[in-house]
């Protein structure tokens, strides 16, 4: 029997970027907030330190900061007629765990979606005809526009101290930036971080081909910066050890550095770590969630925490699982295409390559998250899709994020991978190669979805979430097109040797590809097509606000964090300015 605790104004489940932002905004509005985090506390002063962080084996290979799959995982299959098996250790994607969540180890590429992305379905119909979109492509317009979201993108940029070069400042195109981006109300908080030699060559080659290269936007401050929370961020050290780990310089943005220090001194906020929320308590009649039940992992004690407002801000999989377990919203059924919870699971379709420049010296160990240059000429509707046979696109980038020695080595095809001659090949090629990536969109498909697994359970006895996903024909065509364009730029860079890699036919759960999982609790105009409304309020429970990329109707050709941060501020504003005064649905169903 769960021990019932005193009611709090709001409970926040999961302390990643969105959970930290919501906690901050709600306490600022005067609410008492309890933050529940199933993982450990992660305090930068103690944990984000040298020499601890400079350990590729611990962080990059053995995945120190990632979710503990012995407690909880998901099951996976490629198609609805297959038997799903548990992912026994995460590989293709790596959700984080503990305070900061996935916002600690991310690559810090910080993007906004295109204004046209937000009305993609309507736009495709307008441009290519009412019947152009295949029946199986279940894309939807966002219920919010770029213009509405822009002030919140701006807030999140400033929280993170993003470094970049504006391409469109208040409607005026700025040379050197991304000319395709939506208008920004303000410049980036910081100047772009420096680029390496590879990305510089890429930039010249792309320009010669008539494309529009620009430095990638990165949530890594290029200079000391005080964010709007009054927190001083450090300046990037270009140490090259950033990916899958934290930043001791406080330059790479994380919830732990950019928000939590303020929350930790806030008397209205109480953080409870190692608390595993097993279920939401749903009053279907009243269309409210009355609270949550959680197990304190440190004591084994079960608690009920009643709350006026529940913010569900775990990773995509946790969000969907909680709603399915609580029976909030109709589960999606791919056979009938009816139902909404679990619908429109999307991924990021990334393909890449590498180029080798014999005899040159790129010092690949010097790097920063998001360090690189890109072009956006083939993203979204930035280019015409008439007669291409696919929709969507993505940005193409040349990256220099640091090449640690275990995982950061790459050799040309034909060179030995071990034995005689192998070390000589490493010595020859390690320091003179550069990497490329295409950040392909994934437009939702009817058969790609999430539901509860009928067989496997987590350590607390709950059914695991089951992911049914495969790459579609549209994904492959889109990606091959991007790779072709990428290859054109690589050739123009005149390398000694290069390789490009198209994705295999079937999605596989190894090796690592991207942690950009989206959908399942998508936002939309009505309960028939979505789980949450434009303010991320659940249609089925007006005091439940679902955060993160699980609300994306589909995934566009950019890293998701910029958009999920903007949505968190947008949702928080609706809660604090409208919902608190008059609790009830913010949009009439």
């Amino acid at each position: 029997m769960a021990k019932r605790l005193k009611e709090t104004d709001a409970v926040v489940i999961g302390m990643g970027f969105t959970g930290a932002i919501l906690s901050r905004e709600l306490t600022k509005a005067g609410l008492n907030v309890v933050g529940l985090e199933r993982g450990a506390d992660r305090n930068p002063a103690d944990e984000f330190t040298l020499t601890r962080l400079r350990d590729e084996l611990r962080y990059v290979v053995r995945l120190e900061l990632m979710q503990d799959n012995s407690i909880d995982t998901i099951t996976f299959r490629n198609a609805p007629d297959e038997f799903a098996l548990p992912i026994r250790r995460f590989g293709a994607f790596l959700p984080g765990e503990g305070v900061g969540g996935t916002g600690i180890h991310w690559g810090a590429l910080h993007w906004r979606f295109l204004p046209t992305d937000f009305r993609i379905k309507s736009l495709l119909k307008e441009k290519y005809g009412a019947k152009a979109i295949p029946d199986t492509m279940t894309i939807q317009d966002w219920p919010v526009s770029y213009d509405e979201l822009e002030p919140f993108y701006d807030r999140f940029d400033k929280l993170c101290g993003v470094s970049g070069q504006a391409g469109n400042l208040r409607g005026k195109v700025v040379a050197g930036g991304n000319p395709f981006e939506g208008a920004r109300s303000d410049d980036y908080p910081n100047k772009p971080i420096k680029t390496g030699t590879g990305p510089a060559i890429f930039s010249d080659a792309a320009k010669n081909l008539g494309y529009h290269p620009f430095p990638l936007p990165s949530a890594t401050s290029s200079a000391a910066y005080v964010n709007p929370e009054g927190i001083t961020l450090g300046s990037c050290e270009y140490c090259g050890h950033c990916n899958r780990t934290a930043c001791e310089a406080n330059a790479k943005a994380s919830p732990n550095v950019n928000v939590m220090p303020v929350l930790r001194t806030e008397p209205k906020f109480e953080l409870r770590t190692r608390t595993f929320v097993t279920r939401l308590l749903y009053d279907k009649q009243a269309k409210r969630v009355t609270g949550v039940v959680y197990t304190d992992i440190k004591t084994g004690e079960e608690y009920e925490q009643p709350a006026g407002i529940v913010v569900l801000s775990s990773f995509v999989f946790g969000n969907v699982q909680q709603l399915l377990l609580a029976g909030i919203g109709e589960p999606y059924d791919p056979r009938t295409a009816k139902g909404v919870v679990g619908k429109n699971y999307c991924y990021q379709f990334e393909a890449g390559g590498e180029a080798f420049f014999e005899g040159r010296e790129f010092n690949p160990f010097m790097g920063a998250p998001g360090m690189g240059t890109g072009i956006d000429d083939f993203n979204g509707e930035n280019f015409d899709h008439a007669n291409l046979g696919f929709f969507g696109g993505g940005y193409i980038a040349c990256l220099n994020g640091g090449a640690p020695p275990i995982g950061g080595r790459v050799l040309p095809k034909g060179e030995p991978r071990w034995g005689v001659g192998w070390k000589q090949a490493e010595a020859k090629w390690y320091r003179c190669n550069t990497r490329f990536n295409t950040q392909g969109s994934v437009y939702a498909h009817r058969d790609n979805f999430m539901d509860l697994d009928p067989t496997y359970k987590d350590a607390l006895g709950r059914p695991l979430l089951r992911l049914t996903y495969n790459a579609t024909e549209n994904d492959h065509k889109m990606s091959r097109y991007l790779v072709e364009k990428m290859e054109g730029v690589i050739k123009a860079m005149n390398p000694t040797h290069y390789e490009v890699h198209n994705r295999p036919k079937n999605f596989t759960i190894v090796p690592y590809q991207s942690t950009h999982n989206t959908g399942g609790t998508i936002m939309g105009p009505d309960p028939g097509s979505s789980v949450v409304n434009r303010y991320l309020q659940a249609w089925g429970a007006h005091n439940l606000f679902v955060q993160g990329a699980s609300v994306f109707p589909q995934q566009h050709g950019y890293n998701p964090t910029g958009t999920l941060g903007a949505l968190a501020y947008w949702s928080a504003k609706a809660i604090t300015e409208k919902y608190i005064k008059n609790p009830g649905p913010l949009v009439n169903a």
């Binding site: 040298l50 020499t51 400079r54 350990d55 590729e56 084996l57 290979v61 053995r62 995945l63 990632m66 503990d68 799959n69 012995s70 996976f76 299959r77 490629n78 038997f83 098996l85 548990p86 992912i87 026994r88 250790r89 590989g91 420096k194 030699t197 300046s235 990037c236 050290e237 270009y238 140490c239 090259g240 050890h241 310089a249 040159r360 010296e361 010092n363 160990f365 010097m366 640690p404 020695p405 275990i406 080595r409 991978r417 071990w418 034995g419 005689v420 192998w422 070390k423 000589q424 490493e426 010595a427 390690y430 320091r431 067989t455 496997y456 079937n506 999605f507 596989t508 759960i509 190894v510």
Partner: protein, 236 residues
Amino acid sequence: MSDDTVPRRKFLLGAGLAGTAIAAGLSDRAEAQQPAPTTPAPAPDAEPYVNLTALEAAFIVAAVDTLIPADELSPSGSDCGVAIFIDRQLGSAWGGGAKMYRSGPYLKGKPEQGYQLALTPREFFAAGIAAANAWTRKTWGKDFDRLASADRVTALKAMEEGKAAFENFEARGFFSQLHAITMAGFFSDPIYGGNRDKAGWKVLGFPGLPATYADKIDAYRDKRYVADPQSIADFS
């Protein structure tokens, strides 16, 4: 046979473990019939294996020395501590299956569904080594570590290409894990026992873990940055 016994005997001595307990454990094996040295002289920086059995360690030493042979760029894999690294890793929380979902039912699945065995990494290597030795005994009449060096190369290539017909074990998957842990041992921070004297980092020209390149990234544009590599211990 005497030339065959040399590598394993050398390994036992190098490991500082050629005592009576080990010899007794190998009583049916050729080298155990040799008089055991009563006072073995351990190699200068020999470290004992704490997780691998003597037979497993012999396999691992032979394997990492085949994957990373001694040459002008570095000593052999085992002389760089890679076998010790593997011994320690398989005994670590990771080797014991920490953070790994281990509930059944266990089913084979498609390759797309990833690793589906009940074995922890420690158990996986134990099974893989046993299967590899059984296969080399069938093919060459000897355990892997007794093979001539050219045959070791042939054997590892066959595993890598999935052409080695292991009984009840997947040769390609085993090779892939063996290769991965060997590379991790050669290139991880020396504090884990491998990459001794930063040999792996020196091959690449990787400078280890300096705190900052903010003042170097422009200065060394298109110019080689050379530094004596620094490890965790150097900063501690």
